[in-house]
Symmetry: C2
Subunit: 361 residues, 2 copies
């Protein structure tokens, strides 16, 4: 009788959230988001191949920004163990966006938010994390999309499933290939979760494969980026948030060479340039007002000039990127999830209209 | 000639952002947001007077959540120096919201975002902060509203203005008194900036004086809160986010006594109860689904029952608090600025309609 009770107890416990888990290396599942294939499973860009001559850009290239792991499982609980590399946080960032994980599960054809991987906080070791992403799910097979940290390097990542459950790679379900090159706005400095950048949302909402090449504060039309973009195969479109970081002088001096390099490698690919947002730091600061206005003027001039000779270049103006209530940024510059919502309401229909002309839908 | 050049240089430098500043103690300006007057300048509630028998609630009572400093100045640059007490961060919080400052300046009758006080990050001493809130403003007198940290105690705060500028207390410009008692949702766990909680936005948007008594995870209809609410003078309305933290059992067991105490002290004051949001943690987790559904059922039952005998009690349902795209929370539970926007779109017109009946407009 007592043995029966104990057996029953074991069965009950193993059916719950505290069931024994087994962990698999996420590198053995499907990893998407890398512009050029590399052996480094969780780095965006292989810095042994691409040289940027800038320690910060090298560091960002090794971040897992925009990367996601795809798998299918019949587990009722999904956990994760991962290590990040100790990157500093910005005052506008929450740890879930910076070092955390963001899980979506397919439901009625849509990717629906399922849970976050919450990083270790406030106690050492700060960069070794373990978190339950979702528990107590209904039985059945789930298709899972797990976004990786936006502002740190992932040294390793394991997915935990119930002992008896299967977990297998899921083929990339996203169509086409759209490369989004940009600043901290693209990088997602103030995105609440890794899957909430505008690039990730545009991809998820439309089924497009979007690659995030946002480099916070460092997206100044450098030639090194253009050489990387030139190497990416089968690109269907480029979206450029390339006017947020450079000064007006940088834009006048570098824009043409940047476009020349990308265009030589991708002769007919649409290049969609976003005007930089009208920053809220301009509201009262006359210095910022002058600096930002000069940037916007330079951007508009250079792109419109180029459009005269290149019919695959497009320009999207930014008046409505941050709404009109001054509530869309974390710090005057970086859009929050609300800012990205306003931005997507503005750019999504315009970008989709352009893409349609190229059969990208 | 050389002397003239140096004099000119001094004049030029002192006219710019790097002008010499003088600092004044913010406690000597106008501080708003305290429900009951206290000598502690930057604490919400005086814990020598109000006892909660819970170390976490005591800690939160000493936070500066919802407090703001009001002043007028003709300075062209505004800086701040402040110290916080070393409170831990949550994985859903950014430092600007947690320990930072959020400045608004009156422009054409509206409070317009002007800049943030960015906390010290990543290097000791972590809790001693110095930041330029806004620089290079046009000459002229500005009315300023500065929100204090949401999730830490402020040990001291000084405002820096240009050496020759004046800075004076500004009388509280907000009308009426609306007390918002609630959970981490009211507390603003995932608000990007201190002025972005729904209570602060509702107040700023409508000119109402809103007092934030959000206590993260600890808002379970405890009697001790009711005793505090009973002591607040001249309250025009209560808004209650009191069903997010308690279990269904807590709600059944505590609701009536909680209302009895508040009602005895405020016989005719409208008490507006918000149903708790439908959390995104329910999307796939069957345990969470059952727990949350039971809470919502208990809340609806208890409030509707009480409404039969108390015509100053109101209930606002929550179907649309988080929109329908599963993008409004930082972690499945806590609304981001986007979540607060959806929530305000839902509750603002309903609350204003109720308040109008009481002459609060």
């Amino acid at each position: 009788m007592r043995k029966l009770f104990i057996s029953l107890l074991v069965v009950l416990v193993s059916a719950g959230a505290s069931a024994q888990q087994r962990y698999v290396d996420a590198a053995e599942l499907t990893v998407i988001g890398q512009p050029v294939p590399t052996d480094r499973p969780f780095a965006r860009v292989d810095t042994s191949v691409y040289k940027f001559n800038d320690a910060t850009i090298d560091r960002y290239a090794n971040y897992s920004t925009g990367l996601a792991v795809l798998f299918t499982t019949d587990s009722r609980n999904i956990k994760a163990r991962w290590e990040t590399s100790g990157a500093n946080s910005g005052s506008n960032m929450a740890a879930i966006g910076q070092k955390g994980l963001d899980l979506y599960i397919k439901k009625d054809g849509e990717w629906v938010f399922a849970g976050v991987g919450s990083p270790a906080m406030n106690k050492a070791p700060y960069d070794r994390h373990e978190s339950t992403l979702v528990a107590h799910m209904e039985p059945g097979v789930k298709e899972c999309l797990l976004y990786l940290p936006l502002f740190d390097k992932v040294d390793n990542l394991e997915i935990g499933v119930d002992q008896e459950a299967f977990i297998r790679p899921l083929a990339n379900p996203f169509r086409h290939k759209i490369v989004v090159k940009g600043s901290s706005i693209t990088h997602g400095a103030a995105a609440s979760r890794p899957g909430m950048t505008y690039a990730a949302r545009f991809g998820r909402d439309n089924g497009f494969y979007c690659i995030n090449l946002g480099f916070s504060g460092k997206s100044k039309l450098q030639k090194e980026y253009a050489l990387l973009l030139a190497d990416i195969e089968d690109v269907d479109a480029f979206i450029f948030d390339t006017f947020s970081n450079p000064s007006a002088e940088d834009i006048y001096g570098r824009f043409d060479e940047f476009v020349d390099i990308v265009r030589a490698a991708h002769p007919d690919v649409p290049m969609i340039f976003l005007q930089t947002e009208r920053r809220e730091t301009r509201n009262f600061n006359t210095d910022r007002e002058a600096f930002e206005a000069a940037k916007q003027k330079a951007a508009a001039e250079k792109v419109r000039q180029r459009m005269k000779t290149d019919r695959h270049i497009y320009f999207i103006t930014s008046e409505d990127f941050l709404g009109d209530e001054h509530i869309a940024t974390a710090d005057g510059t970086h859009p929050t999830d609300l800012g990205f919502t306003y931005m997507l309401e503005s750019i999504s229909p315009k970008i989709k209209k352009i893409l349609k002309k190229y059969g990208v839908r």
